[in-house]
């Protein structure tokens, strides 16, 4: 399946791009992260500490064990600092 992946804040800066489109068979967010980190060092560095990263699937906050079944957009970012 084809998924748009978005990166925000320091995750965007470390990976070097705000978004990309990937073809993947990853079943869960965690599987997708494994695929990405296997690709290039900058991904491995950016995703080094998953405890410091939050994820949204189709614009809803979720967990790393969430299924990607039918997902069209996955976003990774640090804990939010609004307000």
């Amino acid at each position: 399946m084809t998924i748009d992946i978005l990166y925000f804040a320091w995750l965007r800066e470390r990976i070097g791009i705000p978004r990309e489109r990937v073809d993947t068979d990853a079943a869960t967010v965690a599987d997708l992260v494994d695929e990405l980190t296997a690709r290039e060092d900058r991904y491995a560095v950016a995703f080094g500490d998953l405890g410091a990263i939050r994820v949204a699937v189709d614009q809803e906050l979720t967990e790393f064990d969430a299924a990607l079944d039918g997902a069209r957009e996955v976003a990774f970012f640090p804990p939010m600092t609004g307000g």
């Binding site: 804990p79 600092t81 307000g83």
Partner: protein, 145 residues
């Protein structure tokens, strides 16, 4: 209920005046406004957000507040982009028949906007730029609700 996500500056007082007008059974209005602090080291703040998700996430929080407290109206304004020291970053206002509901709903909305709305603050100073780190106390504050 009004939710605005914008790069343009706004004045919290003007927004409060408009919000206060034309209500009926409202005895209490609470507003919170967040400002960029004026401190020598900070040149400006840059706020990044997640356009597709932001308004949706704030609307979901606002709907939680409306379901939980007896509110007559509710306003959220949040800026993104470059903000100068002293600028208004965001505001929340709640209108209710009684003060407890207005206070609690505004406090609740602030706690959740801090940690659950997709905004990220970066401080740009004379010595360079740094992303603002989320505080443990902000995450802990959610347990109050």
């Amino acid at each position: 209920m009004e939710i605005r996500v914008q790069s343009e500056p706004f004045d919290a007082g003007d927004a409060l005046t408009r919000f206060s007008q034309g209500h009926k059974d409202v005895g209490a209005i609470v507003s919170f406004s967040g400002l960029v602090r004026v401190d020598g080291g900070l040149r400006y703040m840059e706020i990044e957000h997640y356009p597709g998700m932001t308004a949706k996430a704030i609307t979901a929080l606002a709907e939680q507040a409306v379901a939980r407290w007896d509110l007559r109206d509710l306003l959220v304004i949040h800026r993104y982009g470059r903000l100068e020291p002293g600028a208004q970053i965001m505001m929340v206002a709640t209108a209710a028949a009684h003060r407890a509901a207005a206070f609690e709903a505004a406090d609740f909305l602030m706690d959740y906007l801090k940690s659950r709305a997709p905004f990220w603050k970066k401080e740009v100073g004379a010595d360079g730029a740094a992303w603002v780190a989320a505080k443990d106390e902000d995450e802990a504050a959610l347990d109050r609700w």
